[in-house]
């Protein structure tokens, strides 16, 4: 070494030498954080660990990807348990401790206890997916259990107001840190439930591992699991996972995310309402056009377009029957006709036989009458001639010819008594060659001894 010391090295070469030596030393160190620089955009987190008793300090760095992986939030004053190796930043000639993993000192035991509790609760089924309750779609009342101070409560209120102002928010502002925090949290959960919350937000802002410890409480975990309404947690920041998160129905990474999880976005609702309105319009117009179609269909049915077609079958049947009737009727008629003429012939024959007898009788009677008639009439006729000759003699005309006259009343009655006429009446006197019209001047009755009847007539 001495020989080498006499031979000067360049700065770079010297630092390279030191670097090689240093980087071989991997150690685990416990120390208190005195400075902390964690800025976005930086490649690493820089902090200083110090040892108050020994008055020593060590600049540390942890590459950002590892820091995020570790997920341990710490602040100045925290005691860290870090593992890593020394390194040398040649440009500044500065020694660093490059942290590979870190934990809050004493945290290891606690983490183990939490892990065991998680296993136990999981074995009991408190974390089963089936045990998770569904969130109400449009909650009327949202419970919020958190610290009344700090950003978390307002992050939630702001998010709810922005997304879903329709819901009433029931706030239970309770201490979320300290030994009694779990009891307060449980009381808060009960309170908002009793006030009618349909879903409860259990949130708190980011904090150290110790700060979040109340949310790893076993009693709180069991309380959450036994709640009658769904519980949504938003505890700390993304990498933090507490027992409360595990047993909650929905686990959100932050209070804001928790609020977003329970509240639908009012714009989505408005859009949904628009959609519903459109659907309603479509459905109604579809119904109306369906009715119109049905009407059209009815209108175009044969009933309306061609009513006669409805009776087509019947008409055909009628035609068929008519044809059958036509073919049936003449046959029977023929039969009847034949019967009729047969009957007529029979009648005629019968009639002739019926008439034949009497007709012969009539003929015979007529012949008899013809031969008998003249012999019957002859003697009568001879007697009649004799009688006529006798009558000739009795005729008044004969009497009149001998100078007698016959007197008649105007009415033509024979006047045989004076009582037949009275003075002034007209009378006719028939003589042999004519009639003399007379007027009665007076009448004179004869003497009862039978003297000559006298009448005095005045010629008109």
């Amino acid at each position: 070494m001495a020989a080498e010391a006499s031979k000067p090295l360049s700065v770079g070469a010297a630092l390279q030498l030191a670097k090689r030596q240093l980087e071989g030393i991997a150690v685990r160190i416990v120390g208190e954080v005195s400075e902390l620089s964690n800025k976005p955009g930086y490649a690493a987190v820089y902090f200083t660990l110090k040892d108050g008793k020994e008055n020593a300090s060590l600049p540390c760095l942890m590459w950002m990807n590892r820091f995020k992986q570790a997920g341990v939030a710490f602040k100045v004053g925290d005691v860290l348990d870090v593992t890593g190796r020394f390194s040398l930043y040649a440009a500044k000639g500065r020694m660093n401790f490059e942290v590979a993993s870190l934990a809050l000192a004493g945290e290891g035991d606690i983490r183990l206890r939490i892990a065991n509790l998680a296993k136990k609760l999981e074995a009991e089924g408190l974390m089963r997916a089936e045990a998770k309750r569904a969130l109400p779609r449009l909650p009327e009342r949202i419970g919020l259990v958190t610290s009344p101070r700090g950003a978390a409560v307002y992050d939630v209120l702001r998010t709810l107001r922005r997304r879903y102002p329709c819901a009433e928010v029931l706030v239970a502002g309770v201490p979320v840190e300290g030994k009694d925090a779990p009891l307060h949290l449980m009381a808060g959960l009960d309170e908002v439930c009793a006030a009618g919350a349909e879903v409860v937000l259990l949130v708190r802002g980011g904090g150290s591992f110790e700060d979040l410890m109340p949310f790893n409480d076993e009693a709180l975990a069991r309380h959450i699991a036994a709640m009658t309404v769904p519980v949504v947690t938003g505890i700390g920041h993304e990498p933090d996972t507490s027992i409360a998160d595990m047993v909650a129905d929905v686990r959100a990474s932050t209070p804001t995310a928790a609020a977003e999880a329970v509240a639908p976005d009012i714009r989505d609702i408005q859009q949904a309402l628009h959609g519903t309105g459109r659907r309603m319009g479509f459905a109604e117009s579809a119904l109306i056009s369906q009715c119109a179609n049905q009407l059209m269909q009815v209108r175009t049915t044969p009933l309306f377009t061609d009513p006669l077609s409805l009776m087509r079958d019947e008409a055909q049947m009628l035609d068929d029957l008519a044809r059958r009737l036509e073919s049936a009727i003449p046959d029977s008629l023929k039969e009847s006709q034949q019967g009729l003429s047969r009957a007529r012939m029979a009648l005629v024959a019968k009639g002739q036989t019926l008439i034949a007898g009497p007709a012969m009788d009539v003929l015979r009677a007529r012949t008899t009458l013809r031969s008998v008639g003249p012999s019957l009439i002859r003697p009568k006729r001879e007697r009649a001639s004799v009688m006529a000759a006798a009558l000739e003699g009795l005729s008044p005309l004969g009497v009149l010819a001998r100078g007698y006259a016959a007197a008649f009343t105007e009415e033509g009655r024979v006047i045989s008594s004076i009582h037949a006429v009275s003075a002034g009446e007209r009378m006719d006197v028939h003589v042999s060659d004519g009639t003399i019209a007379c007027v009665v001047s007076h009448v004179t009755e004869d003497e009862p001894q039978g003297g000559e009847e006298r009448a005095e007539w005045q010629i008109r």
Binding site: D155, E168, V174, E191, G234, L273, M280, E284, L287
Partner: protein, 85 residues
């Protein structure tokens, strides 16, 4: 709850939404009589308007059951959880 369905003013927003959904579903089923459907449609349109108004007029109500809220920060204060994330 069914009894209050007709009194639209008494309906909560959710009940209104459910009722509207029911109306639309029954309209979409296509099994309604025309007159019935027109009634339902009119009712649906009215309900839709009422719900829209309710949304437009909604204002957050906060009831503090336990503890006391600290002074509310201005709304333009950035969401702390978002900025840290």
């Amino acid at each position: 709850m069914a009894d209050t369905m007709n009194a639209k003013e008494d309906m909560t927003f959710k009940q209104g939404m459910d009722e509207l959904e029911r109306i639309v579903a029954s309209l979409e089923s296509g099994e309604m009589e025309l007159e019935q459907s027109l009634d339902a449609y009119a009712k649906g349109v009215k309900l839709l308007g009422a719900l829209q108004n309710k949304l437009d007029a909604a204002e957050q109500q906060v009831q503090v059951l336990m503890g006391q809220l600290a002074q509310a920060p201005e709304d333009d204060v950035q969401d702390s959880t978002l900025s840290k994330a």
